[in-house]
Assembly symmetry: C2
DNA sequence: ATGAAAGCGCTAACAA
DNA sequence: TTGTTAGCGCTTTCAT
């Protein structure tokens, strides 16, 4: 048969009424053992499964759910954000559902639609930057009056936003290096699907322009967001650059930095003696590495928490509250992977 | 007012019929601009939001969703499992929704209920071991005929299962050490909410019993599943043990091992010279550490993929297929964190 | 362009 | 114990 069996199909086949089947389904005591068994058998035989969406339509209120859309399952960065969301959403009785777009705008579209179809109360989204800037699903959410908070600024869409100042973050990273006497600095840039990535590149530019150093396009090395990316790009780059080797690298994120660290190690270059490395995100892991990594601290938990606060406030408001824009600050956390070139010279 | 506004409320307030409101909602062209505007205004004013569950009840078929319940958001182990699930579920048109129980049986209950209420097609669950062995939600799933696959064996419940042989895994880890001449080995054990944890302890026992060494209860050191746990326990343990220091530690998982590594580093103990360390899971990260970590490879992706295969097969079968039990193998991956005691002696 | 009515799959209230 | 009826919030004919 074509479609899935309904309660009516079961009722008919079992020779009882829909009401009786429903009673069986809900374990009511008012059904005779004989009927119950018969109905159960039919249910099993037909592989019948009640549609939760039709059951009572109970969800209307009893069901608080927040959908969170991230971009990479394997980046501990999101674990931080998730923890923040959970910290505020949990106590308020919201269940958290997470889905990843893996950086694909199209996948994001599907995932958001699915969550909307599932009737989540609201969404928190880290939007992927599509070539085609496909944000139709976001407009769809607005049309359907499903509240959402964005975790990255995206043009052409009005919404709640919680973001950090990536330009400043990257500028500070570069600034930190320049202060310590570095003049040959390159940036291992993130993936194109990330607004953060682009903003951080801009921040690097800014860092240069605020110093006496002159920026050159080659300082930006396209890399990615994963350890592998940092590793492979690192290997290739430092093999190729020969004598004209940079004294420092700022990375799109910590994962890339970890990859780069490995590449440098394998190439026999020492960190920070030969090359200083600074990451971004400040993952908990950073303190655990052999040479703890200097990184720009992104307030991941705070971001998640703030987003959840705003979303829930919106959800529970009688009328739609005004749009909120929150920008959190990043800050360089100095560890062992960056050295002061001046004092190093002095020492030598 | 008490309950959420319905389409009828909107219709009434706007002085039109439900049908018209519905038309506006769905952007039909058959509505006059004037009416449309009026309806839209009322919708906004009432903060009305259509219930997706009632809209067409369309989900019935068009909506393929797999819910995955994990136990720790911040453990890259699950990233592997997720990748495996996604690899097979994605191409088949299933959207993946992930939720974490954070090791709490009660939270797992809530999360599973929520997913069931959302009408996910099926579930893959890493069950938390509750004190009270609360598996009522799993029975609930069976009653409602919602297929699921377990990623950890759990007693008292019949279901599809994909698991690994943890006893063997831990035994091999210990065996590896014993082969290399270690005789004082301890195990940093995992959290009580994990069956894997208990099985691995059992495996350690087994490793001893298969050698000439005699096992003692103190060899099992309760630790946890996170880096912090490994770090703190490591610090405390190695500070306390004085001269009677173990030459090797097997860890519940890689995260714990990473924490332990840090502790040893801070205590001035060298790995593997002073202490050999072996982890478990074989996270991608292991290759990136300063001293790459010997670990027991758990086939994470394969587990996820196998679970997804079984689940989807069940979902798409006309009648319920027989229960499947898959057990995958683990295998020690030797890296730099374990040394051969015999040859070390020789060298000395 | 709009309204009235039927129907989606289910539960609940009431008879029988 | 069971069947019948109404109704949940929405969409979709079909008149008008």
């Amino acid at each position: 048969m074509g479609h899935n069996p309904t309660i009516a199909d079961v009722a008919e086949r079992a020779g009882v009424s829909k009401g009786t089947v429903s009673a069986v389904l809900n374990d009511k005591s008012s059904v005779s053992d004989a009927t119950r068994k018969r109905v159960r058998d039919v249910i099993k035989a037909m592989n019948y499964r009640p549609r939760a969406s039709a059951q009572h339509l109970l969800q209307g209120d009893g069901d608080r759910t927040i959908g969170l859309v991230i971009k990479e399952d394997d980046n501990p960065y999101y674990a931080g954000v998730i923890a923040g969301v959970r910290r505020v959403a949990g106590p308020r009785g919201y269940v958290l559902l997470v889905a990843s777009s893996e950086g694909s705008s199209e996948a994001e579209h599907r995932v958001v639609e699915a969550m909307a179809a599932k009737d989540v109360s609201g969404l928190i989204i880290t939007p992927a930057l599509g070539e085609e800037a496909d944000v139709t699903h976001l407009f769809e959410l607005k049309r359907r009056n499903i509240p959402f908070v964005l975790l990255e600024r995206i043009r052409g869409i009005q919404s709640h936003i919680v973001d950090i100042d990536n330009v400043l973050a990257a500028r500070d990273a570069v600034g930190h290096l320049i202060e310590r006497g570095h003049s040959h600095i390159v940036h291992f840039a993130g993936p194109p699907y990330s607004a953060h990535s682009q903003e951080r590149v801009e921040g690097v530019r800014r860092g240069f322009s605020e110093s006496s150093l002159v920026f050159r396009d080659e300082f930006i090395v396209p890399t990615g967001a994963h350890m592998e990316d940092g590793y492979e790009t690192g290997l290739a780059y430092f093999r190729a650059c020969g004598a004209d080797r940079p004294t420092a690298v700022t990375c799109y994120n910590d994962l890339v930095a970890i990859g780069l660290l490995r590449a440098l190690r394998e190439l026999g270059l020492r960190v920070p003696d030969d090359v200083s490395v600074v990451g971004c995100d400040d993952l908990p892991l950073m303190d655990y590495l052999g040479t703890p990594l200097t990184s720009v601290r992104i307030p991941k938990e705070e971001m998640g928490a703030a987003a959840a606060e705003i979303l829930i406030r919106h959800l529970e408001a009688e009328e739609p509250p005004p749009l909120e824009k929150v920008t959190l600050d990043a800050e360089v956390v100095v560890r062992a992977s960056t050295t002061d070139l001046a004092s190093a010279d002095r020492a030598a």
